[in-house]
């Protein structure tokens, strides 16, 4: 700490750290090299599929990527997999960069979960023009923009609206006509957020429930906690929350618990993350929807392989969404 010894050792350590970093870069460069040359020297050339994800910080997407890696490991002879994602769910420009990187690497197919339904279309079109098969998963690209750009990109994924409707109907079955309910939306610009809202709205209207508030909590647990608390302040007679994802359902649960209204206010979510399964078993959250997140990317990859083989122009493909409740969890546990 003393002032005399401040420069010399500091500089030398700095140099060492710098050399170490340089060395580690060289090492990663080395390990990268043989990998790619390996793939080109293989006798029958394996197709290379790029999986471009949204935020890998999100449990849902990391599970999805994990499922894809597991699938690739089991089918290592059939294809190669490159997985990359962005750090922020809304970082559209980074995702465009990733597509461009994949184009430079000349992959055979790109399976993409677009961060934005509209602004990713152009990048996807360029990839397609380069002869790359593009498959859209998770968040559907905007149909209008696709027709404008005169391209078609197949969507492989669940019907979020139908899934939300199913969850909503289950909740509505536990309520009486005219009961006050609130809806926590995802990020309003996201297609799946819009679809889930539409699904919930259908069940609310069908059951004649009284929607007293519908606000965005940006997919976030913390934000949902605050918003749910405020909605309960405004509507002391509130009977239920429809949450557009499970993180928000957890945040809402904490708000309901600290308002001492467990059992009085019902909660449903969407996504079926592990933490919510615990809450469902405990009876604190009523239901959620399982869109088989670990399989979503796999469905896309399998479809890409199919198209690479057949070379046809493909249609959209729907994947299953299942209702998860205390009973269904107990049943699946008993089955195991």
């Amino acid at each position: 700490m003393c002032a005399q010894s401040k420069t010399i050792p500091g500089q030398s350590l700095f140099k060492w750290v710098f050399l170490l970093i340089l060395f580690s870069f060289m090492m990663t460069g080395c390990t990268d090299g043989p990998d790619t040359s390996d793939s080109t020297s293989d006798e029958p050339k394996k197709p290379r599929i790029a999986l471009v994800m949204k935020s890998l910080a999100n449990e849902f997407f990391s599970t999805m990527a994990e499922g894809a890696r597991t699938h690739q490991a089991a089918h290592a002879d059939q294809y190669e997999l490159l997985v990359d994602g962005i750090k922020d769910e809304r970082d559209v420009s980074r995702q465009v960069q990733l597509i461009e990187e994949m184009m430079v690497q000349q992959v055979d197919a790109i399976v993409i979960a677009p961060a934005d339904s509209k602004s990713l279309v152009t990048a996807c079109r360029r990839a397609q023009e380069q002869g790359i098969v593009v498959i859209n998963i998770d968040n559907k690209l905007d149909a209008e923009v696709l027709t404008q750009q005169k391209i078609s990109i197949p969507f492989v994924g669940p019907d979020n609206k139908a899934g939300a409707k199913e969850v909503g109907d289950y909740l509505a079955g536990k309520l009486a006509e005219g009961d006050e309910v609130a809806l926590l939306e995802g990020i309003p610009t996201a297609y799946n957020a819009q679809q889930r809202k539409a699904g919930f709205m259908e069940s609310i209207e069908a059951a004649g429930l009284n929607l007293v508030s519908s606000q965005s909590a940006q997919w976030e647990m913390d934000r949902a906690n605050q918003v749910a608390g405020d909605i309960m302040t405004q509507q002391p007679g509130l009977k239920a929350f429809f949450c557009s994802n499970d993180s928000m359902a957890l945040g809402t649960l904490a708000a309901v618990r600290s308002a001492d209204k467990l059992g009085q206010v019902q909660i449903v979510g969407f996504d079926n993350i592990n933490a919510v399964q615990e809450a469902i078993k405990a009876g604190n959250i009523l239901a959620t929807a399982d869109q088989h997140g670990d399989q979503l990317a796999v469905f896309g990859i399998e479809y890409a392989l199919e198209i690479l083989e057949s070379g046809g122009t493909p249609d959209d493909k729907e994947t299953p969404v299942d209702l998860v409740t205390q009973e269904s969890l107990a049943a699946s546990q008993a089955a195991e």
């Binding site: 700095f14 599970t63 606000q215 940006q218 906690n225 405020d230 957890l250 904490a254 592990n274 933490a275």
Partner: protein
């Protein structure tokens, strides 16, 4: 700065009245615009939601006073929570040990921030920007991006105390505010921090080694983020690796609204706490008025800028000059 201690004491009091006045005005406004705003449950609810931000603002105030900034608190906050969650759920540690580890990790991040920036004389802005990424990455790696459901004892800690309506976290946060304020205004250590923020060179020339003091400040900020992460886990009963993005900016905003100077040398923990209250009441009231999320962000931004403008005036000009600046008169000579 040249004002005598008596007049600075007065201007300090005026600050408190100003901040409390803003809170009162907001309460009045939201109370008339929405139902149930003036109810005890709503007050308790708002109080129980702010312990995390209170602690982050305490740490940030210390760092800002010495002329630094800590951009990593949001990530460190999430890291502490996740470490606690993973230790409790996956490693089956006793919950008390897991919580201690969480706070310890927060302190370690703070120490690294302080040590690296002091040892190699790198602005804390850059070092903590690095830590923002490191802690976030480490946290996601440890948790494998999965929300850790802890439940049990932790959930009970997050519940309001029966018959009192507020949570233990809120009481602890208030206790921390008091302790931090005493440290800042009544101890030699606190006095040195202000001196460092005002003129670090002068402090050094007067024979005081500023480095360990500054490192300690970053450790305090890290520990506060660690405790805040713990409080979040208490409140939610689970540790979500996605939390805390942008919390550093809210903490800075609270401190700035409370009159803490971004260039160092000036700040008060109690006023930062009032800043937290202002931002929390604003957020809560706007939700209850059912304004859109985007509008809420605009209003919050406007309030922050207004607070800084007012503060800049209060610092640089007297009331007469302030008034004259609006009347387009030539400012009176000082």
């Amino acid at each position: 700065m040249k004002s005598s201690s008596e007049s600075s004491r007065w201007s300090g009091l005026i600050d408190y009245f100003g901040l409390l006045g803003v809170i009162a005005l907001m309460m009045l406004f939201f109370g008339t615009q929405t139902e149930n705003f003036w109810t005890l449950p709503n007050l308790f609810k708002t109080a129980n939601q702010i312990p995390e931000f209170t602690l982050l603002a305490i740490g940030m105030t210390f760092v800002l006073i010495i002329g630094g900034i800590d951009l990593s608190v949001g990530s460190v906050f999430a890291l502490s929570g996740v470490v606690t969650g993973v230790a409790a759920v996956q490693w089956n540690w006793p919950i008390s040990l897991a919580m201690t580890l969480g706070v310890f990790v927060g302190g370690c991040c703070g120490f690294l921030n302080g040590f690296v920036s002091e040892r190699w004389r790198i602005p804390s802005f850059i070092v903590t920007l690095g830590m923002l990424e490191i802690a976030r990455g480490a946290e996601l790696m440890i948790a494998n991006s999965q929300t850790q459901y802890i439940g049990g004892a932790v959930e009970k800690l997050g519940m309001p105390i029966p018959g009192l309506g507020i949570t233990p976290a809120f009481l602890i946060a208030i206790l921390f505010v008091v302790i931090a304020q005493v440290i800042l205004s009544k101890t030699v250590f606190g006095r040195y921090l202000f001196a460092i923020g005002n003129n670090e060179e002068a402090v050094r020339l007067s024979g005081i080694n500023a480095r360990p003091l500054k490192i300690t400040v970053f450790v305090i900020a890290g520990l506060m983020a660690g405790f805040a992460g713990l409080f979040q886990v208490w409140r939610m009963g689970s540790a979500d690796p996605a939390v805390g993005v942008g919390h550093e900016l809210t903490a800075i905003a609270a401190a700035v609204v409370g009159g803490t100077s971004l260039t160092g040398g000036r700040g008060s923990v109690v006023k930062s706490f009032l800043g937290v209250l202002i931002i929390a009441i604003l957020a809560s009231g706007l939700v209850q008025m059912r304004t859109s999320f985007h509008f809420q962000r605009i209003v919050t931004g406007v309030v922050i800028v207004l607070a800084v403008i007012l503060d800049a005036y209060r610092q640089k000009v007297t009331w007469v000059e302030f008034r004259d600046s609006f009347l387009k008169r030539k400012p009176a000579a000082r």
